[in-house]
Each structure stands twice: as C-alpha cells, then as structure tokens.
C-alpha cells in the first residue's frame, strides 16, 4: 500500500506544523512493510529551490519538489499537469494506493484533480491544517480587523479582501467544492477545526479527528552531557517561560512580553525565552525577555530543557499547534489562550492554564497562579508526565483510515 504524501511545503525548507506533520507520516510509514514505494511531493518554498527553467526537482527517488502556486486564492497549480509533462513523468509507473494531501495551498486544487485522474484506483485523503475552506482571507478565521470570524459569509469575506471580490469568492467556492468532492475522506487534527468545516457544510461522516503524528521519541532525548539542564522548577528559582515557533502578528508574542513586564513590575520572578526569532526583530526588549533565535528540530531538546513552562498567546483559533504536542513530549505544562484548538488540547488546571484570549492581565494572572499557588505547578507537571508516557495513537489512527479507505 504505497502512499503519496502531498504537502504545501517540504520540511527541509519550511518548518511549519503542516509540513512536519506530513513528513513524520511519510517517515513513519515508508519503512513499514507494505508501504514500500511511498513518496513525498511538496511545493517548493522558493523558485530558487528548483533548477532554472524547471517546474520540478527530484530530491530523492521518492521525493519531489514542484513549483509553488502563486495564487493562494483560487489554489491553482503552477506546474504543467498534462500527460507526458515533467510531473507526470516523475510519477509515472508508481502505484500509489493512497494519496494523502496535507493542504492544497501552494500545490493547488488542480493537482488534486489530476492525481485522481492519473491514479484512478487510489483513494484520496486530505488532512485539514487550517481554515482555508471557510476563510478565503488568510485561512485563519481572523478578519482583517483582527476580530475572530465564523467564516463562509460572502459579505464578510469580501470586506476582508478589500471589496469587489464577490465574483472570485464564488469561483473559489465552486473550485473547493469540486476538490472536496474528489477527496474520499478528510482528517482533522482537532475537533474544533472539524466543527468549523461542519458549519461550512461538510458532511460529518466525511471527517475523522486524528491528531498529527508527534516527533519520534528518539528525537526528543537530551544529550547526556546536558542532562542536568533539565531540572524541575521550584519556587526558589525564577520561572522560565518558553515561547516556541514563528513570530507574527497573530501569534500574540507582544501580549506575552507585556505580561512579563507587568509581572516583573510586581516583583514576580519570571523570565521569557523566545525561540523562533532574533532580538534584532524587536525595537525594545524589556528586562526578563531574551531571544534565542531560530532553531532546528535537533535544537529542541536543549531549548525545551531551558524552560519550565511553555506559553502561547495566539489571537486566532489555531488548529492543533505542534508546540503543544512538543511541550507535552518534553513534560512541560502550557499557558495558552482559552481559544479554538488550544483550548481543546490543553485541559485547564490539568495539563496547563488557559487565559482569556488577547488579555495581558489574564496572561499575567495565570502565570502568577502557576508561580504562587500551592501544589498547582506540581499537579500540572504530574499530569503532563502522565500524558507524556501515554501511548501515542496517531500512527494507528492513520493506519486504520488507510485500511478503511482501501476497503471502500
């Protein structure tokens, strides 16, 4: 049962959660008996990653990069999809039984349709990594005004897009409808995201909720030379909060920084380590905030070891943020907004603390509770430790879906 994974980016060049989720599945399945011949097809993050004048690059016999679609609105495909074209030649002779898409962004809807044509016996599966279906603006269900949105209303979508786009919204809707009609089954990594797609009109029977595959346990071990770095927090030492991931306006890092400033002004002993950005990206860096720069996955054990708790402050719903999985893998409780996929994945006062989205005061209150409330932090650590050792069911979940699809 060879599987072709199709992704909007290749993790060698783009470190987003969707790319990593797709890649981990590919890595997990490709070496399993019965899954030989699986492949990974991804959109190039930059034309520079492709040979001059080419739409395609073979990274290995089973990995291909294709030219990225420049149109995130119609989701058209930027490569020649005719039989005999470069891509057809690359995939010809393969016998994929499952084509598992992780996103249609950058690879395009046309690719979905053409792969169905080229591999008529294959079953098509799509993991939804964000809200591009109901949200044509930026796929986050976050309006241009910064307000959260339910999605799917042409008037609101048109406003976010600057007006005069009703026509293209209707075209887009038909293209998405056709593509989703060609997909045999959908996977949502969170119930929250599933519900948004149900609200948008997808048949509930067509979506299964399966969490993304976590990083393999072999990759999370701290080098023995650094083993003493990872010490549990006690109230004698400042609480080190870790921020992990990209820094952009909807990740809410500035809210976290403001909360740290507020707490330190109240003499709460707390520090913030930002992983994923450089200090140079910010004009003013308050006391207690440090920037560790970008990181690769192999840097994560050490970076995680330096912090006591992981925090997020996203102002959009998120889906199933990888940082939550990672924090749990490293035994770290989380402090996060009570919003969307984050509120689903983190149980308040069990595996983390949830705060009112967008509220600096609320962030500060929850951090202060973590620091000052008797037994709270130890309870969170215990629960996260239990979660860490729980058997991951994500692989089996995907395997069951693959098996079920082939029985249809």
């Amino acid at each position: 049962m060879s599987v072709l994974y199709v992704c909007h980016g290749h993790p060698t060049f783009a470190k987003g959660g969707g790319e990593l989720a797709a890649w981990r599945l590919f890595e997990a399945f490709r070496h399993r008996p019965g899954f030989e011949g699986s492949g990974f097809l991804a959109a190039a993050s930059s034309p520079d990653h492709l040979p001059a004048g080419s739409e395609l690059l073979g990274l290995s016999p089973d990995e291909w990069l294709i030219k990225r679609s420049p149109n995130p609105f119609f989701h058209d495909t930027a490569v020649n999809l005719s039989r005999g074209g470069q891509l057809h030649q690359a995939l010809a002779g393969r016998n994929f039984k499952i084509i598992h898409f992780h996103h249609y962004l950058h690879v395009g809807i046309d690719l979905v349709l053409v792969l169905k044509r080229w591999f008529p016996e294959a079953k098509l599966l799509l993991t939804l990594h964000d809200y591009w279906g109901p949200c044509a603006y930026e796929g986050r269900l976050l309006r241009s005004s910064g307000d959260l949105c339910g999605g799917g209303d042409p008037e609101s979508c048109d406003q976010c897009l600057g007006g005069g786009r009703r026509g293209v919204l209707a075209i887009r809707a038909h293209r998405l409808e056709r593509m989703l009609g060609a997909i045999d089954h959908l996977i949502s990594p969170s119930f929250f995201l599933k519900q948004r797609y149900l609200d948008w009109g997808i048949d509930p029977k067509r979506i299964s909720v399966i969490e993304n595959l976590p990083a393999p346990s072999s990759s999370i071990a701290l080098p023995t030379s650094d083993a003493d770095l990872s010490k549990p927090w006690n109230q004698e030492t400042p609480l080190v909060i870790g921020y992990f991931g990209q820094v952009n306006p909807w990740k809410g890092l500035s809210l976290l920084i403001e909360a740290i400033v507020l707490l330190r002004a109240e003499n709460v002993s707390v520090k913030l380590e930002v992983n994923g950005a450089d200090a140079g990206d910010f004009e003013v860096i308050p006391d207690g905030v440090s920037f560790n720069g970008c990181y690769e996955s192999e840097d994560l054990p050490l970076r995680m070891a330096r912090v006591h708790v992981v925090a997020m402050a996203s102002t959009w719903y998120e889906n199933s943020p990888m940082v939550i999985q990672e924090a749990f893998q490293y035994g770290k409780p989380l402090i996060a907004p009570s919003l969307g996929g984050m509120a689903e994945k983190i149980q308040h006062e069990c595996t983390g603390l949830l705060f009112d989205p967008g509220s600096v005061n609320s962030i500060a209150i929850q951090i202060k509770r973590f620091v000052e409330e008797d037994h709270l932090s130890s309870k969170l650590y215990d629960n996260v430790a239990h979660k860490k050792t729980a058997k991951a069911e994500e692989f089996d979940g995907h395997k069951k879906i693959y098996d079920a699809l082939l029985c249809i």
């Binding site: 119609f74 058209d76 020649n80 999809l81 005719s82 039989r83 046309d110 053409v114 044509r117 042409p154 008037e155 005069g164 009703r166 026509g167 293209v168 919204l169 209707a170 075209i171 887009r172 809707a173 038909h174 293209r175 409808e177 056709r178 009609g181």
Partner: protein
C-alpha cells in the same frame, strides 16, 4: 447664397467643424462648435450643384474647453451635432459653418467596428460634459438613426459566422447532447474556473447531455483562455468548444455568433458571472421548454447571499425624457416571497426576461434574428428580444425551481463612467424605437 455666407460669417463669429462623418450613403453627421449662442448653420454644395442648409436643432453639446479657449466662461455649451441628408449619388463639394468655409475631411465610419463607432459618436456628443437630459434629443436628431443604419450589415447570420476567427474543441465529444450552454467572455475569464468546477460535478454534464461553448469576445484574453483550456480541459469529461471573435463585437453579436456556432437543438445562454448553486438547475428549465417549445425560459437568479436578483423584468420610466428602464421584479427579496406569484413553485409568465440566463430552442432564436446588434456592448438587448419573442408568438416563462447565482456586474467594470451612462441611455432610446409596446 454667397451673400448669406458672408452675412453669417460677420454675424456669427468663430466656429469650427471637428468631425464630419459619413454614416450611410445618404447621411452625414457633423460635430463642432461655434462661439455664440445662436444655432449653428451649415451650408453645403453638392456635386449636383444643389445647395443644402442645415440648422443644428439638436441640443447644444457641452464644450467647456472651447469656453476656456475663447474666454467666454458663460458659454459652455458651444458644441453642436448636425445631420446632413444627401440625395442618392450625391456628394459634398463645399461646406461652410457659420459662414466659414470648412475643409472637406469626410471620414467614412461604415464598416468600422460598430461598438467603436458607438463610443466615438458618444464621445463627440461630449459624454460627461453634456447633461444627460439632452441625450434623448441628441439621439433623435440623427445619431440614433445613424447607428440603426450602421447596425444593419451586422444582422445577417453570415456576418455572425464571419466574426469567428478561431474554433477549438477540448475534452470529450458529447455527440448526443441536446443542450449547449453558451457563455460569452469579455475581459474577465476567470469565471470559467468556476463554471468548469461546477459543471464537472453536474450529472447532466457528466453524462454528456450538455455541451459547453465559450465565445471569447475579447482578443486580449484569447491567448490566456486558450492556454488555460489546453492545460485544464483536455482530460476533463466535458465537451467544451471555445470560439474567439476577430474583435470585441459586443454582447449581442457574441451571443448570436455562439448560438449560431452551437449545434444542439436547445441553447442555454448564461452570462459569465452566472454560476450554479446546485446541480439540479437544468432539468426544470428543459422540462418547461419541452412542454412549451415556443417559450423562452429563465431560471430564478439569486445573489450570492441568496436574495432574488432576477425573477423577470418590467419596463418603467427611466426619468430622462421618455426613455424606458428595465426593473427587476422582486429584486433583493427573499425567494420565499415568490410564493405570491407562483404558490406551487411552477413556471409562470413574465413580461420580460433578463439576458443573463435563458433557455430556448436554437432555431426559434435564429429565426427571429437573434439579439439586435444595434445594442452594441449591451443593455436593453434582452428587453428588445423579449418583446420581439412575444411579438412572434412566443412566451416568456420564469422557472422558480431552477436557481443559479448571478454575481451581477462582476463581469464588467463597477465604474459608471460617463461613457457607460451614455451607452445605457442610447440603448434605452434604441429599445424605445424598436419596441412600440413601450409606452
């Protein structure tokens, strides 16, 4: 006569003829300005020795540029339009305006692209400078009749056939199809992506009961359209023909050419910005047409938010002269309010139908002459066709159970520039002339 010329020159002052256009064998249109408020007087001598005097009686044209040049700020209406009628075989040999001899630079606009001539004439009427209220009288004074004459050669089917310079087929051959969906494209062609996505999910298209025919009425998009079709339609299970016209010919002629090029007995004509809502829209239209073959039937068109956009039209006064306006019945209302007109949801008769979405028998459309080409770029051609259809014994039926989305005015510019307004008024005037039914 020469004394009259001298007197005019002395009395009337400066004047200038901007354009002298031959619009037919017998009719010339003159556009120019004069520097006083009195009527513009044209004196002409023909090759037969006949003298011709024309006093421009149509309303003045706005010419603020002339007022500024002549430093006569109060006289902003210096422009005029005049129509000169010649006898058969006659030609002009000399011409005077307000006593000033004018060079005989006669431009023959016959045979030039019609919609370009319409725009040229409207620009000469100083669209944007001349108040809209003067338009009906200006059209009445010669311009309207001139365009009717220029449209005559565009009416034969041979002309429609001759407009097609390229025809390409993509996808499968739906040889037993009964219906062709004809969609003209102008400027925006991205709606094709929506059509193809929607039609590919429609059992009627999947079962090859329907063909699709695009008319590219815009040479600037032809390469892009053909390229996209080659890349995306070759392997689709749709029967798609794309014809492209030599030049932009306007909605009426694009539709006529497409319908002539189609080969099925029934035609469904759609504006490019009409998209299906569900895949069950063709059946009720076809069923109605089969039961009333002499009918022209139309679906209920909804906005993308679900309100009624088109459920038939009625004529009402525009408020400028006696020009008509097409008013969409029930527009903006919830479709449930249609129950007042059709409690059982069955097709019902209407006064007029919009050209945005129609189904009819091809031979009837061709027999009555198709859309009238005098309407150029578009507007009011559907009103005129509706009335002509009824005059020929046909019926107009609205089928409420067939529903599509009309993204009205998405396929054309949003801006109501003066020229667009004048085109609309001109077409309203033409509709009024062609349809005695309009009171």
């Amino acid at each position: 006569m020469f004394r009259l010329i001298d007197a005019l020159r002395l009395l009337r002052g400066a004047a200038h003829l901007d354009q002298l256009l031959r619009v037919s064998q017998e009719q010339l249109l003159a556009f120019g300005w004069r520097a006083d408020a009195k009527a513009a007087v044209l004196l002409a001598r023909t090759n037969t020795g006949r003298w011709l005097q024309v006093v421009a009686e149509s309303p003045n044209l706005g010419r603020p540029d002339v007022a500024e040049q002549l430093q006569l700020p109060a006289f902003g209406d210096a422009g005029f339009q005049a129509s000169l009628t010649l006898e058969p075989g006659e030609s002009l040999t000399e011409l005077w305006l307000q006593g000033h001899r004018q060079p005989l630079e006669l431009r023959d606009v016959r045979g030039l692209p019609y919609i370009g001539v319409v725009d040229q004439l409207l620009r000469l009427c100083q669209a944007g400078q001349t108040p809209l209220e003067r338009a009906p009288a200006l059209f009445q004074a010669g311009l309207g009749r001139a365009l009717q004459g220029l449209a005559v050669p565009l009416k034969p089917q041979e002309h429609w056939q001759g407009l097609i310079h390229r025809r390409k087929h993509f996808g499968v051959n739906a040889s037993t199809a009964e219906i062709t969906v004809v969609i003209p494209l102008y400027r925006r062609w991205d709606f094709m992506l929506g059509h193809v996505a929607a039609f590919c999910q429609d059992p009627w298209f999947q079962e090859q009961q329907v063909r699709l025919l695009y008319v590219v009425d815009d040479p600037t998009i032809e390469t892009a359209v053909m390229g996209w079709c080659r890349g995306h339609l070759t392997d689709e299970l749709l029967d798609v023909t794309v014809i492209s016209l030599q030049s932009n010919s306007g909605f009426a002629l694009a539709c006529n050419s497409g319908i002539l090029a189609a080969e099925t007995p029934k035609i469904c004509l759609l504006n490019s910005d009409v998209l299906p809502i569900h895949s069950d829209w063709l059946q009720p239209l076809l069923r109605t047409l089969q039961s009333v073959p002499e009918a022209m039937v139309a679906p209920l068109l909804l906005t993308d938010e679900g309100q009624i956009q088109h459920a038939g039209m009625v004529v009402q006064p525009l408020g400028i002269g006696d020009l008509p306006a097409c008013v969409h019945s029930l527009k903006g209302l919830d479709p449930a309010q249609l129950k007042a007109l059709s409690p059982d949801g069955l097709p019902y008769d209407v006064d007029l139908l919009s050209g945005a979405a129609l189904m009819f028998e091809r031979h009837r459309f061709l027999e009555i002459g198709g859309f009238h080409p005098v309407f150029g770029r578009g507007d009011f051609e559907d009103l005129e066709l509706s009335l002509r259809w009824r005059r020929s014994g046909g019926l107009l039926k609205l089928v409420p159970s067939a529903r599509l989305t009309h993204l009205e005015r998405q396929s054309i510019t949003h801006e109501q520039d003066p020229l667009t307004q004048w085109r609309g008024l001109l077409n309203a005037w033409q509709a009024k002339q062609l349809c005695q039914e309009i009171e």
